[in-house]
C-alpha cells in the first residue's frame, strides 16, 4: 500500500516500520488472545509479559474485544441496521444458491440461521468490522462465491506425509514436497490460510511442486499457512490425503 521502491536491496522505510510494529516470534494467535486476554483469564507469566510489552498483540486483542463486545457507535447504528436488514432479506437467496459441501451435517447448517449466534446483535458485530474497514467508495463486483467441491469431501484412511514446508521456517519455500501414496497417479496441492481460505491450488503427477512467484509473495513473515495434498488414482478417485500441515515464515 505504501511501499516505496527498493534500492540497493535495503529495506524501505515502510518495511522497517512494518517489521517493527509487526508480529514477532512470541506473538499470540487469535485463539490464544481469546483465551489469555479477551476472556479475562490470567495468562501464563511469559505470555502476560509479552502481551504487556507488545503493541501488535495489544492491537489485535482490542480488535477482537470490540468484535466480541459489539458495541455500536452512534454514527454506525443506522448503517449496521441497514446491512443487517439486507442480509436477512437476502438470506434465502444467498444460502439456497450455495449448496453446502457434501455430506452436510444437517444440524450444523440448518442451525446456521436459527442458532442464537445469528441474532441481529451478531450480524451487527460483523457489520461493525466491515463498515469500519471500508472507507472509500469501492463499488466492487459481487462477492466471489466459492463453489462447493464435493469431489474432495470423500476421505480415505490413507494419509500423505508432507515433508516440507512444515513448522517455523526461515526462508519462503520454493516448493512443496511430500511422500507419495500407493496407487496415486496425480496429486492436488492446496495452500490455505488458517481459516480455510484457499490461496492457491495446483495439480501434479510428481511428489513435489514448485510454488509460483506470485504465491511465494503470499508467504509473509509471521503468517501461518497450511498446505494440503490430496492423491487420486487413475480413475480419478481420491486415495489418500495429508493433514493440513502448518508452516510459518519467521521474521
Amino acid at each position: 500500500m505504501n511501499g516505496a521502491p527498493m534500492s540497493n536491496n535495503k529495506p524501505t522505510e515502510n518495511q522497517i516500520l512494518q517489521a517493527a510494529f509487526g508480529p514477532g516470534d512470541h506473538c499470540l494467535s487469535v485463539e490464544q488472545l481469546e483465551k489469555c486476554v479477551v476472556d479475562g483469564s490470567i495468562p501464563p507469566a511469559p505470555l502476560a509479559a509479552h502481551v504487556e510489552s507488545c503493541t501488535y498483540c495489544q492491537t489485535q486483542a482490542q480488535l477482537l474485544r470490540e468484535f466480541g463486545a459489539g458495541t455500536l457507535r452512534e454514527t454506525e447504528t443506522e448503517v449496521v441496521e441497514l446491512i443487517t436488514a439486507r442480509l436477512r432479506a437476502r438470506s434465502n437467496e444467498i444460502f439456497q444458491a450455495t449448496k453446502p459441501q457434501v455430506e452436510v451435517q444437517e444440524p450444523w447448517w440448518r442451525a446456521f440461521w436459527s442458532a442464537p449466534w445469528l441474532s441481529p446483535a451478531v450480524l451487527a458485530l460483523a457489520g461493525i468490522l466491515v463498515v469500519a474497514a471500508i472507507s472509500l467508495q469501492m463499488r466492487n463486483s459481487a462477492p466471489s462465491l466459492h463453489t462447493p467441491r464435493p469431489d474432495q469431501e470423500v476421505l480415505r484412511s490413507n494419509t500423505i506425509s508432507v515433508i516440507a514446508p512444515s513448522g517455523d521456517i526461515r526462508e519462503a519455500p520454493d516448493e512443496i514436497r511430500w511422500q507419495g501414496a500407493p496407487n496415486a497417479v496425480r496429486y492436488e496441492v492446496r495452500l490455505l490460510e488458517v481459516d480455510g481460505a484457499e490461496l492457491w491450488k495446483e495439480e501434479t503427477v510428481q511428489n513435489r511442486i514448485e510454488l509460483p512467484a506470485a504465491v511465494r509473495t503470499r508467504v509473509v513473515p509471521a503468517k501461518t499457512l497450511l498446505c494440503q495434498v490430496l492423491a487420486f488414482d487413475s480413475s480419478g478417485h481420491p486415495v489418500a490425503q495429508s493433514g493440513a500441515v502448518r508452516f510459518r515464515l519467521l521474521q
Binding site: 500500500m1 503493541t55 471500508i134
Partner: protein
C-alpha cells in the same frame, strides 16, 4: 459515516457466506465468535490490500504529504542501527497506546487512515493521520536525542 454502505453490505454478505461454507471446519477449539472474527478479519484485510493497487487509492499519497522530509531520515538512520529491534524499543518507550495501535494498523495491517479513525473511534479532527505524524515525530526526536544520526 463516509464509507460505502453497499460495498460494506456486499462484504458482510461475503463473510457470512464463507462462514456458512466452512461451518464443518469449525472444530470448537475457540469460541464461534473468534472463528467468525478470523474469517471477517481476513476477508476485510484482503479487500483492503486489493484496493491498495487501485488507481483511486490515495492513502499512500496522503501519508507522504504529511511527512516532511526530515522525518524520512528516521528509518534510514535506524536501518543502520539494526532498525527493527531498536525501533521496537523506541516504540515502547516513546509512543502512547493510541499512536502505537494506529501505526500497527496502518503499517502492518495496511488499513487506510480513515478506516483506522473509525475503527478506533478517534474523535480528533484529523483522526489517525495526526497519530501517524505524531508517532513519527516522536521517533525522530528520540533518535536525535540518542545521537544515533
Amino acid at each position: 459515516m463516509t464509507g460505502d454502505v453497499n460495498s460494506a453490505a456486499d462484504l458482510a454478505q461475503d463473510v457470512f457466506l464463507k462462514a456458512f461454507q466452512r461451518l464443518n471446519s469449525f472444530r470448537g477449539d475457540s469460541k464461534f465468535s473468534t472463528w467468525l472474527y478470523s474469517i471477517a478479519r481476513n476477508r476485510c484485510m484482503d479487500e483492503m490490500r486489493s484496493r491498495a493497487v487501485r488507481p483511486d487509492e490515495t492513502t499512500g499519497v496522503v501519508l507522504e504529504q504529511l511527512i516532511d522530509s526530515s522525518l524520512e531520515q528516521v528509518p534510514r538512520t535506524l536501518e543502520r542501527q539494526e532498525s527493527a529491534r531498536a525501533l521496537r524499543q523506541l516504540i515502547q518507550e516513546e509512543l502512547d497506546e493510541t499512536e502505537a495501535k494506529v501505526m500497527t494498523l496502518h503499517y502492518v495491517d495496511e488499513l487506510p487512515l480513515d478506516s483506522i479513525t473509525r475503527l478506533l473511534g478517534l474523535e480528533n479532527p484529523s483522526g489517525a493521520k495526526a497519530y501517524v505524524v505524531s508517532a513519527r515525530r516522536k521517533l525522530q526526536r528520540s533518535v536525535s536525542r540518542r545521537d544515533w544520526a
